[in-house]
Amino acid sequence: MGIAVNNISKSYKKIKAVENISFNVNDGELFGLIGPDGAGKTTIFRILTTLLVANEGSAVVAGFDVIKQLKEIRNAVGYMPGKFSLYQDLTVEENLHFFATIFGTTIEENYDLIKDIYIQIQPFKDRRAGALSGGMKQKLALCCALIHAPKVLFLDEPTTGVDPVSRKEFWIMLKRLQKKGITILVSTPYMDEASLCDRIALIQKGKILKIDSPENIINNYEKVIYDVQAKNTHGLIHDLKNYPNQYSVYAFGEFVHYIDKLATFNPTDLQTYLKNKNHTDIIIKPATITIEDVFMDL
């Protein structure tokens, strides 16, 4: 069951949106497509939800072929597009009722599934969807995607532009849905969310660069990264970039992540170099590697 994607390619005129992509999502798995805007994530979603036909390759979703059995797929999956696509001039309740009717069910029948989420927007059930805040729109959209109790849930950048608190809550909701046996394919440009998935595919410019569990991806990273800090971050980045054997220099929260080309790299030498460049309050220590570090090095 789950999702099986085999050698999918799709081009729009000259632009190759996705190129020869293959991956499997196991039944009941929470699988993340991690990549920036323009990586091809939405194209993959649209192909798997039967809204777009691939140029090459095949895919099976919830046991159905995306070309031959598109009607079955549409009944078996829930899809929350990246762009808010509910009816702005219908109320919260009307939207939910509408989507339930379309799928030949009722709100009551599957209320169990959406209860946790719907309770949070229920106080606003008579408000028009267009007048909801971003976080509430997102919760309503998730309810509408779940109302027919789908086997597979597709969430295209559900947390883009959402504040850290609501993002955290959203992921707690996803974990709960997963426990109910729903297979979830979710995409995000936020690298910190990758660690919350069972497995992830790192994707850029239409190609999958890596598929594995977040832990394995981090553990298999071979380079040593140093946290470097000094009083003047702007100057620090500039000077680190001019350090003879620098491999990469990136601002990373309160630190700058520094990687050296040489295995013989000695932090003390760097300390001296920075001191000579008039930096103060210098800290150099090994950094904790994150998915974002790995991604930037692909």
Binding site: G161, D163, H234, F295
Partner: protein, 283 residues
């Protein structure tokens, strides 16, 4: 300093400059003047006092007060619906405050909105350049809107295309550019008229990690030149890059300080935890 200048002069002499001292003294003088300016100009460029905005019975912004200094990178954070956008709209002169005062670049947001608009740059979270115009055409258009002369526009085009390394695509439609490039271009266009303050509303949403960092390097460079940066973001690692950060919760500013002090105050390791603590406590 004297010995340093002498050394530099001999360095330049060896590089074949005929009158090195003139060049070097000028440069040193400039450095001196600019460092003096930094001391002198820890001046307030935005002052906000009890700024309030009501929509009917709903108070979106509840009497907020704060100052922003010249050349500062000021992070304006908050949860969705906390009132950030409403506050920002008042500061850029497109929404009239219900009560309270705000002065932006020396102009009152009640009475001098046109002057406010002329003194600031604004980059919206939604890409708002014309997709069906080329890069050059967009720059020309926005330059014209900001009242730049033809020769200034021409010069700006050359400068921007070079700085952003867009030589090969300068005559391509903006719609065909990747998001990261679009955002860098938008930022540059918001700076076309050399405003004193630039407001950036979630400039890096959805942008890839590398471009996101390049974008922040552009912000740093601009701040270094003396432009004040007022920026909102949902990336908490970016909050660490700001000189000072304010966090808005439910229409009020609940915290305002340097990232370092905020982390100390809330006894946590990262800005993300500061944010979670503040927003959680309210609920």
């Amino acid at each position: 300093m004297f010995s340093w200048i002498c050394k530099s002069i001999s360095d330049y002499k060896s590089q074949g400059f005929s009158k090195p001292w003139r060049f070097e003294l000028n440069k040193k003088l400039c450095d001196f003047v600019s460092s003096w300016q930094i001391i002198m100009e820890k001046e307030k460029i935005i002052t906000v006092k009890n700024l309030t905005k009501k929509f009917g019975n709903f108070t979106a912004v509840k009497g907020i007060s704060f100052d922003v200094y010249k050349g500062e990178i000021f992070g304006f954070l908050g949860a969705n619906g906390a009132g950030k956008t409403t506050a920002m709209k008042m500061l850029i002169g497109i929404s009239n405050p219900t009560s309270g005062e705000a002065n932006v670049a020396g102009f009152d947001v009640h009475t001098q909105t046109n002057m406010v608009k002329k003194s600031i740059g604004y980059m919206s979270q939604k890409f708002s350049m014309y997709d069906d115009l080329t890069i050059k055409e967009n720059i020309t258009f926005f330059g014209g809107i900001y009242g730049l002369s033809r020769s200034q526009i021409k010069q700006k085009i050359t400068q921007l295309v070079e700085e952003l390394e867009l030589q090969e695509v300068a005559n391509n439609l903006v719609g065909s550019l990747p998001l990261g490039w679009k955002q860098k271009l938008s930022f540059s266009v918001a700076l076309l008229h050399e405003p004193k303050i630039v407001f950036l509303d979630e400039p890096t949403g959805g942008v890839d990690p590398i471009t996101r960092r390049q974008f922040w390097e552009m912000i740093y460079t601009q701040a270094y030149k003396g432009t004040t940066i007022f920026v909102t973001t949902h990336y908490m690692d970016e909050a660490e890059y700001c000189d000072r950060v304010s966090i808005m919760v439910d229409g009020t500013i609940e915290a305002l300080d340097t990232p370092k002090n905020l982390k100390k105050q809330f006894n946590v390791e990262a800005m993300n935890d500061v944010f979670l603590k503040l927003a959680r406590n309210i609920e």
